[in-house]
Amino acid sequence: MVKGTVRVQLKDGVLDPQGQTIQRALLQMGYDWVQGVRTGRMFEIEMEATDEAAAKNRLREISEKLLANPVIESFQVEVRS
């Protein structure tokens, strides 16, 4: 079995009101070194695949179809066995 990870994030240029609110909270807490916060989502996927390249292809397919909305989100896939 292979473990895949998909990270989904709002694309640059798409407003992230949650990230902005978190950033404001951090600044209020005194963490004045915070310069920007973008939120995202991570999926851990237990899967079958013959090799790493095949696993990544499978992850990319489900990311494009379901896990991410390509209009507003980008994604990155990682695989470990």
Binding site: L10, G13, V14, L15, D16, P17, Q18, T21, L66, L67, N69, V71, I72
Partner: protein
């Protein structure tokens, strides 16, 4: 015209849409179940408001792959009338039947309030009974109604007259204060290029009787039924007018 109202797990405006059609407009209407690909030969499919599949992942993202949606997509592509309201609009965006996407309201709050909508296009089957620029009052109730599309998509929507509704102030103008969710260009509703698919965040089915606060939503149903004031004077319209006058 026969209507079908789709019920997904988590839909909660399906009965409102059904009641508006059946009880107020006396129009033929059926429920369509999400696992059933049969659209029962209806002329207009309504994807109602609610929280299909708990809004898990993204609003509409899971519902979009329901068996009924495979039929709805085919139906829309062959010119069938499809009307997504609130969560239904989100489903249409996820399904790619309408361009763009919804993101979380700018305020991060669930917006539950009355809004003014300006009809920016009456060249659709859903709004042909309205005057261009007419203001309609309807409620909204959503957390993810912040319409996003890139600049090029927005320009295409504007130039081809696909922006049907905008949030506006009392003077009929869009501004920051009257935009409840941060939508780009104050967009509240759009159609596809062909005009047979409409998505809108406000709830016309909750504004069909004066006692509800507004009956402006009737305009849209009546446009479809051909019974709006500027439409054909059918027996149904006569009955409606006399009912409402009584």
């Amino acid at each position: 015209m026969r209507f079908g109202v789709v019920t997904f797990p988590g839909s909660n405006c399906d009965y409102d849409a059904y009641a508006a059609l059946k009880r107020v407009l006396c129009a033929p209407v059926e429920f369509l179940w999400h696992t059933d690909a049969d659209l029962k030969d209806v002329d207009c499919v309504i994807l109602p408001g609610g929280f299909s599949f708990g809004d898990y992942l993204r609003p509409g993202a899971i519902a979009r792959f329901s068996p009924v949606m495979r039929s709805v997509i085919k139906f829309a592509e062959t010119g069938g009338l499809v009307w997504g309201i609130c969560n239904g609009f989100q489903v249409l965006l996820e399904a790619g039947l309408l361009p763009g996407a919804m993101v979380r309201n700018e305020t991060l709050r669930f917006a539950c309030q009355w809004v003014r909508l300006r009809v920016d296009s009456n060249r659709t089957p859903f709004t042909r009974g309205c005057r261009p620029g007419q203001i309609l009052r309807m409620p909204i109730a959503h957390a993810d109604g912040n319409y996003y599309a890139d600049d090029e998509t927005l320009m295409n929507l504007e130039t081809s007259g696909q922006v049907v509704f905008r949030y506006v102030n009392a003077a009929g103008l869009p501004d920051e204060k009257s935009n409840p969710n941060g939508s780009r260009r104050s967009i509240a509703g759009i159609t596809n290029r062909e005009g047979n698919v409409l998505g809108m965040m406000p709830h016309p089915e909750r504004a069909v009787e004066k006692i509800l606060g507004s009956d402006d939503g009737l305009m849209l149903f009546q446009s479809l039924l051909g019974t709006a004031a500027t439409g054909v004077d059918t027996p149904l319209r006569k009955r409606l007018v006399s009912d409402r006058g009584a």
